[in-house]
Symmetry: C2
Subunit: 183 residues, 2 copies
Amino acid sequence: MNATSAEYDEEHLRRLRLVRAMIQVGEVPVATVREVLGHVDDDGLGRTIRLGAALWALPQVPEPDQDDEHVRAARQEVAAPLDRLGRRNSEQLTTLSPAYRSLVVAVAAFRRLGYDWGAELLAPYAELMHRTAVLDLDNMERYPSQAERVEFAVLGAILDEPVLRALHRPAQEEESARRYGFE
Amino acid sequence: MNATSAEYDEEHLRRLRLVRAMIQVGEVPVATVREVLGHVDDDGLGRTIRLGAALWALPQVPEPDQDDEHVRAARQEVAAPLDRLGRRNSEQLTTLSPAYRSLVVAVAAFRRLGYDWGAELLAPYAELMHRTAVLDLDNMERYPSQAERVEFAVLGAILDEPVLRALHRPAQEEESARRYGFE
């Protein structure tokens, strides 16, 4: 086997792995997988846009009802913690971003249930999630090529969440045991 | 309306809110809702156990295949980061805990795809999730009664995840824009 075909095999294997993760772990529809890969492979785009486009193509929450009072309140409450994180950089993305939409939907759900989750409670969580994002990008940068990095980011979007959630719950148990013991 | 019936109404409203969150937001089956509420109301149990029992009754990932090599490797890799967080306190819970099981399943999924996610990569995420858990319990302690606290913890288990996920993605966008701009 010559170097070129070994390289091809390596690339092929990586791609297969990504497709399997999207379909089997992320339950992403095949048409969406194709769309995501289109963005992953589009090296005519800048890095942030390419990364964003690939992630934005993944299944997202639907647009919330603009006339709902809880949605309007949530929209105001999430602005401050995002600004505090220095939303300057990605401000041009924010209103388009499905991630921003998910945040509004989640906060509106708390508020609809009568919990006044707002800017003050969200700010320290936003700070911790920013540190998490720094770790994510540090890990991504361990990969040498742009193609591998975008692929790793897509995998991360699918697999990180189960890992974070799975680390969060034992941490709650541990903290509860630390504070209250087993009395 | 006298004080007693006002108190009853307040309690009734809170309970209704919890049931709605479980069914509408968490898509928890009605039989499970009943089981969770049984633990929430069981003030014969200690706090950590009561909290744990309520959360453990929520839908969880199935037991992973013990003979799978990736599951065995994942089990070894998650031990170290959990120990470092001082698993001393909740050690007696760990092997029973569905959260621990989810962690093994998630790490095994990464490893099956050829990513050697292990102790070293997990440790800083475990640390951040521990800080998140400290915030969760601080917020929980703002509520005066044991009943309200356990209810808030159950709501948190259902609603926190969408909020954390929704804060995580914009943080990634922001960090990407900060590092790479839009070139």
